[in-house]
């Protein structure tokens, strides 16, 4: 941050991101009171949470400003491991529904 101006503009950016994150969180709270069924609500919540998290990682944690290699390393590795973990769901649904998917 060489100049005061660059400093001010990054402060501005942070505040924009901050407001966005809080707005998305607020949206989640609104959705929580709607009458959506379980899986619909879960899907919306997860998408919104992922957007929030992406904003935080990219701008609060500066991943956007880092070397692109780091971005891919972190996102692909974490994403892949978390993705691979999702397979257990099928058995969970089956305990309830008798079939390996949501009903």
């Amino acid at each position: 941050m060489a100049t005061a101006e660059a400093h001010r503009s990054s402060t501005g950016k942070y505040i924009v991101v901050y407001v966005c994150i809080l707005a998305i969180a607020a949206l989640q709270f609104v959705i929580a009171y709607s009458n959506l069924d379980g899986s619909q609500m879960l899907a919306r919540m997860l998408v919104l949470a992922t957007i929030e998290a992406a904003l935080a990682v990219l701008f609060f944690m500066h991943l956007w400003m880092e070397n692109r290699g780091l971005l891919w390393f972190v996102v692909i590795l974490t994403g892949f491991v978390i993705f691979a973990m999702q397979y257990s769901w099928t058995d969970s649904f089956r305990l309830l529904n008798g079939v390996p998917w949501a009903k």
Binding site: L77, F80, V81, Y87, S88, T90, D91, S92, P100
Partner: protein
């Protein structure tokens, strides 16, 4: 260009800093190796006890009652105690030998040297990594002496029996809690280690050492540490949830209305399959954590003995990477018969068959490189060949197991035990041996005895096949694993085979004392090692002394000019060119 001097820091002088809480990666590597050495002999003696019990069920083993009065009254092992010994054998071997020796021990010692660094970036984490692992080992071993002994649940600790406490057998209360605590602690140690390995590889490479100039072993440790970073991070919370089921009355892994030993369990709502999902999500990457360093070591050991590069450096590295990626997608192949949804069996069967492709490519690269080569026969190269042989034999049974319809018959039989002992147990052990014979001159400045090494190899090689090949027949004959005795009619005819295996196991075990003798004797009285006994090119052979000085390269960092596989180079002054040699080569093998 000249070697760049680095800021010099003085080696420690106090005994504690030098030998106990050392920050030097070389000392930490040796500490890990020592831990693995103790663990492997404990594990081996446990396996003897098991084998003797399987061959001669009512034989009294004198003195065993001293270890556990209730487990071995009069020296005769009870069925429960058999299972307790088995669980400890497997846990010690998988975690404290196959993970620590090829990965943590050799990796710690040689990764920083091979990348040309003076140490790892976080020496304190590194020291903690070892001591935390050591505490894990102590906690695990303490379960022998607490309450009614160690857990009997097997290294996989399947729920619900692992989660309901003492009602499911001796050692299932405190024993399981100690087991899970030990493993959770172990995970922390390995996470700290992985952190150091990855940052060492990414950030500490000396001038000229591009990623593609790293030798195979460094690549293998790097890839393994990425697996370790994410796999141990999942096992740790799983163990903590298991502990909560014991100490806090939760029911993560226990369903409702469960009756065990005539008692209805005060649990409800949990899922036994959840444990298996969490465990195998770690468990399958773990088996590759055990084997990939071995692949790296074997490639690294073979190349200088072949006097020519392997067929392809890059394809080898890509294959090891592919193994790492696929290892996260196949874990369900351990659960084909668990009651998991049958569609999943199909889904997991496919990547399991796909993972055989990179495995096969790795093997083909070795075979193709061996074809027509004038291999130098010495202890390291023999053990490297042994590794390849075991990996192939054990891998082939994997093809069968990978298919759900066949696995229904083979699951939980000795066939599986044969499979993983060959492909993981013995293969990884041979990798450790190859590494030991190869690097001993660097670590201690003395050569190991070649004759003893070769005798050790042939006895171990023949012995391992005598022990583990018959396992496949036992399995096909329907011999279920984890049976403490063979009282059923259909198993009676198999008893002679079991006795043969027991004899082979005891003899092969005794042969390991040759190795121990060789190790200790050579450490003090071995022939002084020449500077570069294998005429190898990688950086560990460019250090000014053996063992290397405290800062590895003696107050400077080397500069790297070549790939690590410049062997049989035409027109060079020798038939090989060191990575640090500024010599220009006309027809080198530089891929980078």
């Amino acid at each position: 260009m000249h070697d760049v001097p680095v800021h010099h820091h003085a080696p420690p002088t106090s005994f504690l800093r030098k030998h106990v809480f050392s920050l030097d990666h070389k000392v930490i590597g040796k500490q890990y190796y020592g831990l693995a050495l103790i663990a492997v002999f404990v594990g081996m003696i446990l396996s003897w006890l098991m084998r003797i019990h399987l061959g001669w069920t009512n034989l009294a083993i004198p003195g065993l009652q001293l270890l556990s009065k209730s487990g071995a009254p009069g020296g005769i092992i009870t069925p429960e105690y058999y299972l307790q010994l088995m669980t400890m054998h497997a846990t010690i071997m998988v975690f404290f030998v196959l993970t620590t020796a090829p990965f943590a021990a050799f990796g710690n010692y040689f990764l920083p040297i091979q990348v040309g660094a003076e140490d790892m970036p976080f020496p304190h984490f590194n020291m903690m990594s070892f001591w935390v692992t050591f505490i894990g080992f102590v906690v695990l071993m303490s379960s022998f002496f607490v309450g009614d002994g160690p857990t009997l649940g097997g290294w996989t600790q399947y729920a619900p029996l692992s989660a309901v406490g003492a009602v499911s057998g001796p050692g299932q209360g405190t024993g399981v809690v100690l087991w899970a605590t030990a493993i959770a602690i172990f995970c922390i140690g390995q996470l700290l280690g992985s952190l150091n390995f990855i940052t060492t590889t990414l950030d500490m490479r000396t001038r000229g050492m591009s990623m593609w100039r790293l030798p195979f072993s460094a690549w293998a440790w790097f890839i393994t540490s990425i697996m370790g970073l994410t796999a141990f991070a999942v096992l740790m919370p799983a163990c903590i949830l298991l502990i909560l089921d014991h100490v806090a009355g939760t029911s993560f892994f226990v369903p409702g209305n469960l009756v065990i030993n005539g008692q209805i369990q005060p649990h409800s709502g949990g899922s036994t399959l959840l444990w298996q999902h969490l465990f195998w999500f770690f468990g399958h990457p773990e088996v590759y954590i055990a084997i990939v360093p071995g692949m790296g070591i074997v490639s690294h050991v073979l190349t200088p003995n072949l006097r020519r590069p392997l067929l392809s450096h890059r394809v080898m590295v890509y294959s090891m990477g592919a193994l790492a990626v696929l290892s996260y997608m196949v874990y369900g192949h351990h659960m084909f018969v668990s009651g998991m949804n049958p569609v999943s069996s199909l889904v997991f069967s496919f990547p399991t068959l796909v993972i055989t492709i990179p495995s096969t490519i790795v093997v083909l690269i070795w075979m193709g490189s061996l074809y027509g080569a004038k291999l130098r026969i010495n202890s390291p190269s023999l053990f490297a060949l042994g590794f390849i042989s075991m990996f192939i034999t054990g891998g082939i049974s994997g093809f069968f197991l990978a298919q759900p319809s066949i696995d229904i018959m083979l699951h939980a039989t000795y066939f599986v035990v044969g499979h993983f002992h060959l492909v993981m147990g013995v293969a990884a052990m041979f990798g450790i041996f190859a590494g030991t014979y190869f690097w001993f001159p660097k670590m201690f400045g003395r050569m190991m005895n070649e004759t003893l090494g070769k005798i050790h190899f042939w006895l171990s090689f023949v012995g391992a096949y005598c022990i583990f090949m018959p396992f496949h027949y036992l399995g096909i004959a329907g011999n279920v694993r984890r049976y403490p005795a063979f009282t059923d009619d259909y198993l009676q005819p198999l008893i002679p085979l079991h006795r043969f295996i027991t004899v082979a196991a005891v003899l092969t075990g005794i042969a390991q004392f040759i190795f121990l003798y060789n190790l200790v004797h050579s450490r003090f009285w071995g022939k002084p090692a020449p500077e570069n006994p294998w005429e190898a090119t990688s950086l560990e052979w460019s250090t000014p002394s053996s063992p290397p000085p405290f800062d590895n390269f003696g107050g400077k960092l080397p500069t790297v000019y070549h790939d690590p596989h410049q062997y049989g180079v035409e027109g060079a002054s020798a038939d090989y060119v060191m990575q640090t040699s500024p010599e220009q080569i006309k027809s080198g093998h530089d891929e980078a």
